[in-house]
Amino acid sequence: MKDLLLYLLPIVILFIGGFTLMLVDAFQKEEGGLAVPTAMLHFAAAAAALALWPYAGNAADLARAQVAFNGWLAFDRTTLFLDITIALGGGLTTLLAGSYLAEHKLERGEFYTLITFASAGCMMLAGATDLIMLFIGLETLSLGVYALTGFRRTSARSQEGALKYFLLGSFAAALLLYGSALLYGMTGHTDLAGIRDALGRAVEMPAIAGQEGAAQFVAVQQTVRDRVTILAMVLVVAGLAFKVGSVPFHMWTPDAYEGAPTPATAYMAVTVKAAAFGAMLRVLIGVFGDTSGPASLAGGWPGLLVWLAVLSMLIGNLVALAQSSVKRMLAYSSIAHGGYILAAFVVAPRAESLAGGGGSVGQSAAAAVLFYLLAYTVSNVGAFGALILAGSRGKEAVSYEDLAGLGKRHPAVALALSFFVLSLAGMPPTVGFFAKYNVIRSAIEAGYPWLALAVVINSAIGVYYYLRVMVKMYMHDPQPGAVRAEPMSSPGISLTLIATAGMVLALGMMPQRFYGYALEAVKLAAAPIAAAPADAPPANAN
């Protein structure tokens, strides 16, 4: 039993670290110096998750852990993969924040505490297998990120972004909660395994069996349950879609991204996405992805989600074309990236049924989601990091015009920005290419050629505005008299960017290997989710 507590290590490191940071910040005389310890905490959490990886390979151990924690959290490799992604994203953005906050005179210790707690919330959300846990994780990360968005207290834009993000985010959380409450009412369970199990059975009413009209009554109850379950599912998915900023729930994204201090933007772009997509994976594929139940829901939602995916890609990309601010362009492009990931979701359950329940194609789609999240994390942190490096106090690089001529003035910075932008655009040999390739391949394998085509066309649109960044930097000269971005000199950011670039290249050079890890991660995830309910009723149910 005690050894099972080790499974909590990544989350515990971040929580204890967060409290320690709070104390240190309260008692130290001058601000600053917390960036490196915070990053170390994140990397320690990543290392802990990595060390747990071999132990999470045993289905019996996983079932035992599932019982020990009352089915609140899963400790399978899906969780660990997402934990590593989240910790990596959080650690790298903290390193960027260290130099950024000092440069822009924003250095206050709360930033690091908030980011640490938010990362812990992300991990809780990514590992949650209970609706209560899912909600707490979601709110822990959201409250942290709202505060990070409004961190620049003297800037009206920052506060506006925070207000919009907060209001729409809370609204989304309320939708998700109402969906959760209805699911609880329909099944009597808050744990996902129990919900899946209960929905897999037809409604039974032993108390009235044999009485007159009992069969009709049960049939009515069944219809009610099915309809309410669908409503609940839509509400839960809408709440999560809000968090990942997919169309039509994307309104907050550009304003929050633009208003937030750039490292906070990078943070919410990568970690929140990873955590929310992880939760979506568990809810949509884990609970509603079963195509064999009597009232199978897996037939219904892909048809709806495909519109979200295609619209996210299309609207994200088309609006990104029209932006004059690079930060806003990255915001809309993140909506588009969310669309590509959703495309893999659409494919997963359909593929499962095609493959006859075993679902190797469905697994490859789920693995494509995980791989995409990792790839997006390293590429996006790099892009935002290069954007931070390109500006200094009073001369921030925000719009395309700020970047004009940067290639001539500061070739190294321009090269870094170009490299990460190319990875986001999906150019080989960077990892962005293979992330998209996996999505497209699983779409074709699952018999969705037109969805694959949509991803390809949208990637092509994306290339246009990503290349525009490079065209501005290398082929345009700044307008005479215009404010130009002046790169800051920061060895910390430079080192972070070199490390990130190394990861982008390593992932891009050995995609099969890392995709293999992602595949391993989803293979074992399916087992405990399906197996837990029958033999492991939650211990707190007495």
């Binding site: 709110e139 409250l143 506006e160 309320a174 939708l175 009412g185």
Partner: protein
């Protein structure tokens, strides 16, 4: 007439709809905050009504998941309201506005 589960559920659905409609229609950020609170409380009512209605399990006891969930919602709602008011106040200090329509610096 006896009060049944359905009455509670209809009431909570109404409260939730009023909250959601108010959030979408009203432009004052403080009213929007109140609407969110209304929605969260509608959720609490739903949870508790459902829990009351849950059949006992094999041991003869009724599981308390719904009650526990409601407590967590209450705690989180309080934290959320604190943060929300802080953000509204912070924006008011800079721009002297509380209406969401006036928060339009970033429209393009």
């Amino acid at each position: 007439m006896t009060i049944q589960i359905s009455h509670y559920l209809i009431l909570s659905a109404l409260l939730f709809s009023i909250g959601a409609a108010g959030f979408l229609v009203r432009r004052n950020s403080l009213v929007a905050l109140m609407c969110i609170e209304l929605m969260l409380n509608a959720v609490n009512l739903t949870l508790i009504a459902f829990n009351r209605w849950m059949p006992a399990n094999a041991g003869g006891a009724v599981p308390h998941h719904g009650h526990v969930f409601a407590f967590f919602v209450i705690a989180v709602a309080a934290a959320e309201a604190a943060l929300g008011l802080a953000i509204v106040l912070s924006l008011y200090r800079i721009r002297k506005v509380v209406r969401t329509d006036d928060a339009n610096l970033m429209k393009e």
